[in-house]
Amino acid sequence: MRAPDTESPPEGGGLSMAHVVEVRGLKKHFEAGDVRAVDGVDVATSPGEYLVLLGPSGCGKTTLLRIIAGLEDPTEGEVLIGGNVVNGLPPRARGIAMVFQSYALYPHKSVLDNIDFPLKAAGLDPQERRKKAEWAAKLLGIDQLLHRKPRNLSGGERQRVALARAIVRDPSVFLLDEPLSNLDAKLRTSARDELKQFQERLGTTTIYVTHDQVEAMGLGDRIAVMFQGKVRQLGPPKEVYSDPADTFVATFIGSPPMNLIDRGDHLLGFRPENFLPVDAINGRGGNVLEVDVQVHRIEYLSGDRHVYATVPSLGRDGAHIIARIPPTVDVPVFDDRDQRFAIHERDLRFFDGNTGERVPPRPVRS
């Protein structure tokens, strides 16, 4: 669905290249190289993709987004939109639209004037502007709010105004900088759902920045996990979850994070939900590793049982692990005695002891 136009260009084919964002060898250094906000990033989006940049604060995701937007210039590297290098072009020439964490609505203008502002800047005549603004407002369900000022809107309403302002110029790329973090926790889930539906309807390539891995997993077609200016892994949610590229990704994604056990020159990792009481694992489909477990504590969260335990046989100083037992498994677990737990060997992951990078499987039994 596109903004009403006098002539609608045909979909697909040659135009699809124009929706791709690509960065090559992108670096952004501050203070003569001491601070490396972005340290060599190569990413390319597919048309209509929802790409999430995920990472903790300071990992460079927002800087990367701003460089793509044209709000900052890279120290090195190229940004390409639609197959052409856009370095040196101002934001308004790049065909992008951006939604900020604070929504950045103009406080002194009405909702209508906020949405209208980019159209005015583009020099459209009043009739066209009105048409497009009303289309955008209708699409986001805020056409009743056109004459209100931002300070009289709720958080969710403000977000919609920001989105309306973004789509009204029919951009090729959406750039969103943590737009859900200012909403109440309850509102966030429904807003996330609406956002995803909205993007699928429009089909616009979207790059979305967040530090919340739940959001990332829920929204992204692909996730770029970033840390210290570099992309540690780029892949669909399932892949990033089950096959993390290094210990950072493994522990950043997943709640509770992947268990990591120090075994000298390498680390052994496994997800909490794969580690279950031995009675709950059926041996079909490969080898199973069985170990004795000392349970310290059990938490009941949302129907799951989180078991905090140590597995002396696996690691150096009594590996502390968490096991997540779903409600469907009702094997009793006690917190005062040793029990036997098991995990499929195919669910084990191995990481290099020094670099943290993923390495091929090693023998586990001592």
Binding site: G82, N84, G88, A93
Partner: protein, 307 residues
């Protein structure tokens, strides 16, 4: 939708057209350079307009009399060798040093009075919610609307009744009426910006309200206090009409009044010494002001936004 970038500067560029992209990029660079040029040009013009008179004052203060009093001579260069005569006159033959000393100690005492009286008042207005806080704030604002040029006549009578006519202490007494309202306004805004939690924590820890004020709030208000010190001293040093009305004998005058009245004897203007005085007074104050500018703006913005 792509808008012809050539027509509207706010338009998007057809990114599939490489020539257009390049052209837009060059346009932006040209604009940026042009913008820079305008920026530097304006900055230079502003600096000249502001400092020009003072540069000229400095040059003039060293000019020999024949040089200065020749209409055709270039006023910006030394057509005759520069001389220290006029500076010597300023320091040794006029009462300039007396004026400077008076201005200094009056300023310091006035600032002290302003802080001692104004800070608690600001605290009362900002924190201790009393019914009369609002009206009192408005009353203080109204004081602005009754300027010294209105009050100087009756105040001359009042000062006379205190027996302070022709005495520098008259200024110490009266100047706080000018400095206190502004300072209270500035400090109230600043204090409102300090979270109440910190004081409440102090009171839970065992301080009384007064103790919390003295030990916690006052140190935290430091930037605001700096702003007040600078502003109040400036107001005190600049004040003219009260000084002119209250004091007539030379020994009691401040710079503000002393320089224009004493260095002009009848129709004789000691121009070079006058300019020297201007330069000596202006530069230090400006230096201090600049150094503290950040603090001042911070204190001021808080005051303006919250007040």
């Amino acid at each position: 939708m792509t808008v012809d970038a050539g027509k509207f500067s706010g338009g998007m560029v057809d990114l599939t057209n490489k020539d257009e992209v390049d052209r837009r990029r060059r346009q932006r660079r040209r604009r940026a350079r042009g913008g820079r040029a305008v920026l530097y040009g304006t900055a230079l013009a502003a600096a000249l307009a502001g400092a020009g008179p003072f540069v000229w004052s400095t040059i003039t203060s060293f000019k020999a009399n024949p040089d200065l009093y020749t209409k055709a001579n270039n006023p910006f260069i030394f057509n005759l060798p520069p001389t220290l005569d006029h500076w010597r006159l300023l320091f040794y033959e006029s009462e300039f040093l007396t004026f400077a000393w008076n201005t200094l100690w009056v300023g310091i005492v006035v600032v002290a009075i302003t802080l001692v009286i104004g800070l608690p008042a600001a605290y009362a207005l900002a924190r201790l919610d009393m019914k009369w806080s609002g009206p009192l704030g408005i009353a203080i604002f109204f004081v602005y609307l009754i300027p010294p040029t209105l009050l100087f006549i009756p105040l001359t009578r009042v000062v006379g009744n205190f027996g302070l006519l022709n005495n520098t202490w008259s200024m110490v007494l009266v100047y706080p009426t000018i400095t206190i309202p502004v300072s209270v306004w500035l400090l109230t805004g600043y204090l409102k910006g300090i979270p109440k939690d910190i004081e409440e924590q102090a009171m839970v820890d065992g301080y009384s309200r007064l103790g919390a004020f003295l030990h916690i709030v006052v140190p935290l208000t430091f930037p605001g206090i700096v702003a007040v010190i600078v502003f109040a001293f400036t107001l005190s040093a600049h004040e003219f009409i009260y000084a002119l009305a209250f004091v007539s004998s030379t020994a009691e005058k401040t710079i503000s009044v002393g320089v224009p009245t004493e260095l002009i004897r009848g129709d004789v203007f000691y121009w070079q010494s006058l300019q020297a005085a201007v330069v000596i007074v202006a530069l230090p104050i400006a230096l201090v002001f600049n150094v503290l500018l950040q603090r001042f703006i911070a204190g001021f913005t808080m005051g303006a936004v919250k007040g």
